[in-house]
């Protein structure tokens, strides 16, 4: 994108009605509002069970102004494929098809259908909002829950395993556009969705999405915590365009001098309370190594 969108150039038209069912401070509600502006009115949404199902309203009241197909948990990308098939059959190819799922619906139960759709080269945008656990069902661990995090199914020691790197898995399908973003930088997400709309074939966007209720922080700090995840180098903002990796936006500006210690991030959220000092030290070391790798390349 040549010109970056600013708050002054962002379209004023709202495609989400006020008064939706999101929790106070919900990161998803930020990116949903901005994301729909980027997708535009000529879009069909496909949504599996997730917090978004609730945010969008209970029958017969809806907070979205876009047509939306609610589908079963495992079938999001396959359902997007079906919408695309019908649009092709009817000559309605100009309409954008966007699948919008949570991290469980993407990285765990939805990954087979997503992999299939990417392999088939379906012309759709898949947006994963990653709040790093099954929040809609009450904070259970998912494939993208980071190591050490307390959830209701990792209640004492925290999650023992690492976070699944879904963007890398999707990039391995050889699709033309994979990008990450954060609810703390919604205009970056806006520009990436706009860019995705210009590319044919599958597009994957992975969006880090702070969750006050599930992460254990005051709802007013959603953006601050989202930014801290990036500023500490724990969560990176990048694009993989035709196989070429490039840090973008706030992560591009980050270097070893500017990078904050990971403990700054961990101490803001009660979900990290099981992390020992030694463990934090280990995580800091692995983040430092990751960034040394970035800066060599």
């Amino acid at each position: 994108m040549s010109e970056k969108t600013t708050i002054l150039t962002l379209p004023e038209e709202e495609l989400v009605h006020p008064g939706n069912r999101a929790c106070a401070g919900c990161g998803l509600s930020i990116i949903y509002r901005i994301g729909l502006k980027a997708l535009g009115r000529d879009t069909i949404l496909v949504v599996p069970p997730s917090c978004l199902t609730v945010l969008q309203g209970l029958y017969p009241i809806a907070s979205t102004q876009l047509p939306c197909l609610n589908v079963t948990f495992a079938s999001t990308a396959a359902a997007a494929t079906g919408v695309l098939g019908a649009l092709r059959a009817q000559g309605r190819e100009k309409t954008t098809v966007a699948a919008w799922a949570g991290d469980g619906g993407t990285s765990d139960i939805g990954i087979q259908a997503l992999s299939g759709a990417c392999e088939r080269g379906e012309n759709f945008i898949f947006i994963c909002y990653d709040n790093e656990a099954y929040m809609n069902t009450g904070v259970q661990r998912s494939g993208t829950t980071p190591q050490g995090v307390i959830t209701t199914t990792t209640p004492i020691r925290g999650k023992l395993q690492k976070k699944k790197e879904v963007p890398a898995i999707i990039a391995a399908h050889g699709i033309d556009y994979v990008a990450t973003a954060s609810a703390a930088y919604p205009l970056d997400l806006y520009d990436k969705i706009k860019k995705a709309k210009t590319i044919s074939g599958p597009k994957y966007l992975h969006v880090h999405c702070p969750c006050p209720a599930g992460w254990g922080f005051d709802p007013r700090y959603t953006v601050k915590i989202g930014k801290l995840a990036v500023e500490t180098g724990l969560y990176d903002i990048y694009e993989i365009e035709k196989g070429k990796f490039q840090l973008t936006g706030p992560s591009q500006k980050l270097d070893n001098k500017k990078r904050k210690p990971v403990s700054d991030y961990f101490k803001t959220q009660s979900r990290f309370r099981a992390l020992s000092k030694e463990r934090i030290q280990e995580i800091q070391q692995s983040i430092d190594e990751k960034w040394e790798g970035y800066q060599k390349n």
Binding site: T43, L58, Y59, L66, V71, G82, A86, Q90, A113
Partner: protein, 397 residues
């Protein structure tokens, strides 16, 4: 035009004639030649449709659900474990009121693995809210597939067209292919009253509360229970729709006449064999033999299994002395599903015939005509000997 081809090709030809717009399928024996034929028809340009080679049966039905929601005529096909892998989506398609047509090429279910025919797969999905039609020969397969789209789109309920794996899917029989213009006259273009459309946005299949609720305009919207009640009442209405569609098909194509039950020698029969699928043909030979022995027997092949034509069964068989239900499926720990349904249908009659249940052919066990003759004869002549428990034919313990 008459041709000699397999049951799977008969089904594929019906799908083509119905001008299906979106097809999604995942290979499973014995359904595979059907989807191979469809992909060949689409790839060669002989059929104008989107063929989507999905990565699972769950996704196959997801594609159909979404494409149907977006306003296109859709088709898929599967068998056995593939059907079970779809199960969540099967319920979803019916609840969402989508007129999808699916062929179920009947096969036994693992474990242990079997690829051979019985009816446990489709029978296990009878309570999903789908219409189930069973074909007994190749001609019925092609005719039923075409009719199924009309029935589905009339009542907005999906339809399974079930036919026996290998016995019908892989055998070759002569059948007639209807003319395209006759099918076009019979089956109008699919024009749903609502579909996914940015010009007219709606949030489909969203969370629905237990109770009824006002919408933003002040109109009362149904709750979950009302929506489910409507599905049931439309299923009951479907029995007469199946009859009407059959009449319309007879006028347009020139075949039909037995939309609910395919009867053979039933008019004066004292004892009637009841079954699903191709078994009714084998039982015709049995009836001919027993009639030569002086036993007035007949065969009733149930074509419409869901919704169940219970009132028709109660009135048609009111004067029979006995109904003998031959089944390739079982509700484990109880009885054959069709047997229980038949008894339930007859309960409204004051004078009820006796009803027997034979379980046979599970996992493709050969069904020997002589075994059928002996069982049927015993039921006619010595009916008090046989109780309510299912009797197993061909069991080698």
């Amino acid at each position: 035009m008459h041709i000699i081809e397999s049951g799977n090709v008969a089904a594929a030809t019906g799908v083509k004639l119905a001008r299906t717009e979106v097809i999604a399928a995942y290979p499973i024996t014995p359904q595979t030649p059907l989807t191979e034929k469809l992909s060949e028809l689409v790839d060669s340009g002989k059929m104008k449709a989107e063929y989507i080679p999905v990565e699972s049966e769950h996704s196959a039905l997801a594609v159909c659900i979404a494409a149907s929601s977006a306003g296109s005529r859709t088709f898929t096909a599967t068998s056995a474990n593939g059907l079970l892998y779809m199960s969540e989506q099967i319920h979803w398609a019916a609840g969402a009121r989508l007129p999808i047509v699916m062929c179920v090429v009947n096969r036994g279910i693992g474990a242990p693995w079997t690829v051979w025919n019985d009816h446990q797969d489709s029978i296990s999905q009878r309570d999903t809210g789908w219409i189930q039609l069973y074909a007994c020969d190749h001609q019925q397969i092609i005719d039923t597939v075409i009719q199924a789209f009309h029935i589905a789109e009339t009542v907005r309920i999906p339809v399974m067209v079930c036919y026996d794996g290998y016995l019908l899917s892989h055998t070759y029989m002569p059948f007639e292919i209807p003319e395209q213009n006759a099918v076009d006259a019979f089956l109008p273009k699919f024009t749903p009253s609502y579909f996914l459309d940015p010009k007219n946005p709606a949030n489909l299949n969203t969370v629905t509360l237990p109770d009824i609720r006002l919408d933003v305009r002040g109109n009362m919207a149904p709750g979950y229970m009302e929506i489910r009640h409507n599905l049931h009442s439309d299923m009951r209405r479907t029995i007469s729709v199946v009859e009407e569609v059959d009449q319309k098909y007879q006028q347009a194509i020139g075949r039909g006449g037995n939309p609910l039950i395919e009867k053979y020698q039933c008019d004066d029969a004292d004892f009637i064999a009841v079954c699903l699928g191709s078994l009714s043909y084998q039982l015709r030979d049995v009836v001919d033999t027993l009639r030569r022995e002086g036993l007035k027997t007949g065969v009733a092949g149930i074509r419409l299994y869901r919704p169940f034509p219970d009132k028709t069964i109660a009135s048609e068989f009111a004067n029979a002395k006995g109904l003998i239900v031959f089944e390739k499926a079982l509700s484990y720990g109880n009885q054959g599903a069709l047997y229980a349904d038949i008894k339930s249908a007859l309960y409204r009659n004051d004078n009820r015939p006796f009803v027997h249940n034979y379980i046979l052919g599970l996992g493709g066990r050969e069904i020997k005509t002589l075994d059928l003759i002996n069982a049927f004869r015993t039921s006619c002549t010595d009916f008090r000997k046989i109780g309510d428990d299912p009797q197993w034919i061909g069991l080698k313990l």
